[in-house]
Symmetry: C2
Subunit: 218 residues, 2 copies
Amino acid sequence: MKKQGSSGKRSAGLTRSKPEPGYHHGELQEALIAASEAILAEQGAEGFTLREAARRAGVSPAAPSHHFGNAQGLLTEVAIRGYDALAEALRAAASGKQGAREKLRAQGLAYVDFALRHPGRFQMMFANKRLVADDARLKQASRAAGHAFETVVAELVGGTAKEAKTAAAAAWSTVHGFAKLALEEKFGSVRNEGGRREIMMTLDQVLNYLWPASGARR
Amino acid sequence: MKKQGSSGKRSAGLTRSKPEPGYHHGELQEALIAASEAILAEQGAEGFTLREAARRAGVSPAAPSHHFGNAQGLLTEVAIRGYDALAEALRAAASGKQGAREKLRAQGLAYVDFALRHPGRFQMMFANKRLVADDARLKQASRAAGHAFETVVAELVGGTAKEAKTAAAAAWSTVHGFAKLALEEKFGSVRNEGGRREIMMTLDQVLNYLWPASGARR
DNA sequence: CGCTCAATCTGAACAGTGTTAAGATTGGTA
DNA sequence: TACCAATCTTAACACTGTTCAGATTGAGCG
């Protein structure tokens, strides 16, 4: 079959900023990850297809297999970056406050904020069956994100390690469940900015209820 | 095109206990719902396909459309029954105990127990994009399940309606998040009975931490 | 500089999916 | 009994992920 000189499908500027080689892409891994994240952002987790990611990267449907094996491999890489971003957001939220309770509150808000701002990515991060669930780097990234919680919770509880683990599981469960239910529209619409702000206020009340300010007991 | 007498594909006894008519199934709706629930139980939410459900019911891939429109329609019906079962489980759990706190604890355990025993069904119930999310009966069933929580929570909190709503959101978020995280293996393996029992014990501690017995404060 | 070779990517195919349209079959009812 | 609306099938379409043989290429080595 004929060659296409230099351009062709790979020309929309969505895939590369650098010149543009022909047959060999050069940065296909990154291009595929970026394309996947774009799809997740636009269409959500259910909208992702491997072929569409390849299309956006300007390569054939078979190209991704050489870099990621299969769709799960690509999505695993996307999930890892998602966990990294989440962990960073949690650390940033805690570092801005002082006092364990304030840090935990800030982290809870940051967790749900992350989920509402990146629904597709968030859902994919927790869609084990679409990932290589036993991938070492994925498990590490997931644990690192969870660890950002535990450090703050340990500071708050100050009891035994077991108590800290229980409290961390409680905190994680609450914000994770709230985020999931919110994304499934159980707390009202989440597609407009106003609805999201209202949901964040509800979350604030929930956190205040479960972790009341010292002095205010129920 | 020839006919097949009376039997053929529809002969494994999986679809009907009654005689067995030929062209017309007779109870196709129920057969398709039962087949779908079986698939969800065996393969999880990701394993469901409309064609496989039709196959198990002994009909062609196009047959379901006449009863449910499309796959979302069928899954919506499955989800409705799931919510009904969940609501019933929550009511039963509460009715066995006395004292609002004990009722809430029992409901929380029942909620996660339901999720762990029927993972596929549970995941599908909350997979909005695979359902007809604005179906009136679905929303009603979902609300009814949530209501089973709210009544008990209201009894426990005893404050204003707004406070009760906040507390209900907190309780639902916690158990839902715990169930979701458990199903994604974040609290250890969930595929064997032993792992599940350990997870339920962790949940018990979490609930005790967030809703301590009156007298034991933190 | 010229060659080779491993990495990269394509093309074509396969089995599977959900959905639709047109036609066959049938049970209830007028 | 004859019809008709409900029910189901067949066939097709546009997708999907994955595989495999082969084309293309850049980088390193002689």
